[in-house]
Symmetry: D2
Subunit: 358 residues, 4 copies
């Protein structure tokens, strides 16, 4: 909806700067009686946490979550009461340091210049907004829709694309790249080693697959399920493109190639014979897996000097020192999953509200 | 925001079915004192109107707009008063006909099945939602932001892509494809002739360029300008992918290639040396042209028989007769322009509200 | 929510000026499968229509409603399809006239001055917003909640208050004042005759009672059912105060007087022994009748000359000629009913969405 | 807007239970560059804090606020950066205790029964939502509108009403009742002593006056300034009625009595000769003081036994032991001020956005 809230019935507000005192979220509209544990939240936060391997930034984040409201103790966890669930992660690594020139320089490819133009004030200490709170919200979202499974994978890093015929969800959890193609893991590793040593960075493409999304979720026109998924994925930092199903490839197809044909299975239930649509037609889920992909640009925090200006409009050369991800797309996988889960949960509640069905 | 409204300060609600009595929009939040004429609205409606050439559906739409509220007469047109502007297009071609099997068959690639699952009732007479009211709203949006220019073009039809080095905005108005590359016009024409004769259809890619978008529009996190553009473009019927700036190509770049460097010009003003970002960094406009692309799938209304089922779950073969576009992407150009204009106008008002600046 | 839309799941956007070409509403989020007839809508519109008796304005409004979208024909009426229902009333009495001084004078008690300060432009032809479209939306709202009954009555005109011990709902339909106390009808009549002849006007208090509001509708804090009822009633023109249950009288009670005690009835079901709360506790419906009252100020369109200024800040005396209601509170009864019905319907859908219960 | 957020441009989300780990708010849309100190927030929190006198609950709340995001250090305080400002109050008095029967009994006049019906789960430990976070948000709201002054007072406790001719704002800060009439202070004191000793409670009426609200804030129809004030005041716990200006008394006036006449002052500026309207006409501020009143019911937490039932529908007698306010209306004064300030700030930003004026 607005600046720092998304969702209509399952509504998430996030706050906090990456280098500030704390960051968190308020999940509003969560149904009562949902059971979860702190461990459920922590496990997902750990998946996107930096410092897990040499391929992600070694900056340390505590990411230890506190559950502050909207719950009652239940067994080893909590159940939601229907009031807003506030969660917070305090920042334990918030040392003061000398920002020096950075405070006034505009790093190329960063939003420094845009912030200054917009607000006239900019938090040069690291005003970026972490995506950790989104991931916490996503855990609750997943539990709202019975049977919902949302999984993500990196399908390309730079020029290197996986072979979809070798797709193996089990492999995703076995390598530091969320890569579903075991034959590609070494290639990703060697490529990122080179990039890291060069002080550079590289882009990536992430694919999210949501299974057991009930047919009927979504709405035509401005409440399309794919629209809301696109909106949330595009809101993730560094994302520059979003596709549903065949996406841009659909622009090269003929009508008879693109339309997913239907038959009935041996129980008389409708089945689709293909899934070019990515599980969504006319903005409404068909019951097939919902498939979304998004492109993540390379981070602009690199050791290669780049030309820029400072706040006084002097020309400068900028090198962004510090601990950064050579490929931020990797850690975007759990974030993308959370965004899709939140969109599905929101539409689940909206659909139930409007139609009385699930 | 919700099912049939978009925007936060510049809020557009649309209604009406493509074969119903009428369709229209309510534009809420439009600043007072904006001058426009009925001709301004009509001219844009005519750009997306079917039946303009053999390459778009020959179904006739009257598309004659009535301005019903929110305005006072002023010279040869109107000025807005600040109250909601309602506009309506009555449907003059609303003949009753025999829908026969269509009423119960699910056309492959259409949302027929999804509608039935969702609502339990479906308007088989043609319940699709026309995009004409969006185009009308876009006319007001363009007038709100001083100097704003939003233009669109078809950059690919099927396998045929334009050569960007030949891009000529004047050419766009001279051919029936909104094609900016004069050398590609004949190729598009021959390709569409073949497809039309085969009773088939084809996808397309559309690019929208918005110039004079004030730096500072947008917001980080969930109020990103690119997020809202992506959301609105994805809400257009048949759109399956959206990109900002380099989009998916950015996933293949290194950080030093992707980051747009800055210098000052001879007046001391900041200039960017490239525009990989598509005019938006951190969700905020930088003052460069805002560039968005979207992929339109081929329409599923084709004469090629396809396998499907009906509402009783009997297997059937479906041929969608009638007058349809061989390439719906062409008529999506004015719609895409309108969506980008609406997003920019909304953020213009939001930015002015929050910061007091323009 | 915003300027010209209210509701969260049952969302109503209204448009149109009282002397403009037309006015109407778009009802968004209406569940599919709701049956209604044009007569249902028209009957409610007729209840608030001016010119019904000498006690309401004799200005004629056609108030003939057209249903433009969101429905399919069904028997002698329509069923909703789940897409937005647009309804429109064309203004047949829209004669041009000479507005003369009125165009620049600020009528005391009217919003003329406020409009000019806000917008810098003002529709002196009669830019007021009719409440007819609200009434049309209320008809759909009533049909959404099974068994819901919403009725209203005038409980005071000026100094004259009804005797609640004589309350008779049948009487309400038998007199031109929506008065539930037969002994008060003549007193209201004589009082209004005097006021009308004096070219003056008088205020009124209206009470709305909603029965069969399911227990559980509403939410604590900012989604309180009573909050939303208060918000919508206060949005009706000329309303200056709203009460729930005992309202301001509760400020004079002690805790033991105000708290509604509970017992179980002979079927073991919970019963309340009183209803000071007006059917809402903590923002949530208890299952008792929901009771709201609102105060309507006297219209400022009177023949008694009043001191004012014009747009050039010259001092003037203003007499507002024309056909006006001596007591606008009377025609506010169907509008108040519609507002309560809309709030209940919205919370019905929200509650069903969040909790899966009704 | 939705369940736990209010406002459109100045958007406040609050969370936290009164006996939970913490409570807080997220203020979204706050303009950048607003200076404030922790002391500013704390001072307002202290005004509504319990335990300040024997006339308010002696339950202790720490109410020590932490500022967690959206700010940069500036001098002895902070300036806002334009990103969401999160504030939190940790609960230091969160001792575990034996809730015994209370856990299953429905206290008469409380929302216990309604919560159980709605959610099927209820936080019997004290799930009420504190209004402290609203007060914190109100501090920022006041600073957004130049010159805005929002003050409140208790104008009645039970049967005892102040004499408005003795109104003295300075007196308000000198007594524990926020009473503006020095002659009434002793009467309030004696009355509350008696009520407290009897284990009972009493209602109150609070008046809020906002000065220097710029003319033009607000909007006709559903964005009325008075509508939003009514909505927010009615969302405060225990509030049962809201009035603007003359409120219910306006229902007893004639048109010529109620309409505020206008003249020009000796500088040629428009002046109103009275303020029956409470500073708002047609939903838009006129520049006069905005005046709102609200009725607060007596708390139902009393030592007088009342009849009720428990969750198993057994009939029980309930005495609510503990530390409670004999008159919760007193501590509602700073909360009411905050709500009016938030509504004004929201409309200030909306008005600036839509019209470009202030």
């Amino acid at each position: 909806m607005s600046f720092n809230t998304f969702g209509h019935m399952f509504r998430v507000t996030t706050w906090g700067e990456s280098h500030g005192a704390a960051l968190g979220c308020v999940v509003d509209g969560c149904p009562p009686g949902i059971f979860f544990t702190q461990g459920d939240i922590q496990a997902e936060l750990d998946r996107r946490k930096p410092g897990q391997s040499k391929y992600t930034t070694r900056r340390r984040e505590a990411d230890a979550v506190r559950i502050l409201s909207g719950v009652m103790p239940e067994g080893k966890g909590y159940i939601t009461t229907g009031t807003p669930v506030a969660m917070m992660i305090e920042n334990t690594d918030q040392r003061s340091k000398d920002y020096g020139d950075i405070a006034r320089q505009y790093r190329p490819g960063h939003a420094d210049y845009a912030y200054d133009v917009k607000y006239g004030v900019r938090d040069y200490r690291g005003g970026g907004r972490s995506s950790a709170p989104r991931v916490a919200a996503g855990v609750l979202a997943r539990k709202i829709v019975p049977g919902l499974q949302v999984r993500g994978a990196v399908v390309a890093i730079g020029e290197h694309e996986i072979d979809r015929s070798r797709w193996d969800w089990d492999e995703v959890g076995r390598n530091p790249f969320f890569c579903p193609d075991s034959a590609m893991v070494d290639i990703f590793a060697r490529s990122l080693d080179e990039i890291r040593k060069a002080g550079s960075s590289i882009g990536a493409v992430v694919e999210i697959v949501a299974e057991n999304v009930p047919a009927g979720l979504g709405a035509p026109v401005y409440g399309k399920l794919d629209q809301d998924i696109a909106s949330l994925l595009m809101s993730v930092n560094a994302v520059k493109g979003v596709e549903i199903g065949d996406g841009f490839a659909a622009a090269r197809l003929r009508g008879e190639e693109n339309a997913d044909e239907m038959r009935v299975d041996d129980k008389g239930e409708p089945v689709f014979l293909s899934n070019h649509a990515g599980g969504i037609l006319g903005g409404i889920a068909t019951g097939q897996p919902v498939i979304a992909r998004f492109a993540v640009k390379p981070t602009s925090s690199i050791l290669v000097p780049r030309r820029s200006i400072d706040a006084d409009h002097h020309e400068v050369d900028v090198v962004t020192r510090g601990r950064h991800d050579p490929c931020v797309g990797i850690r975007a996988v759990p974030v993308g999953e959370a965004m899709v889960a939140c969109a599905v949960a929101d539409h689940f509640l909206r659909h139930r509200g409007q139609t009385g069905r699930v």
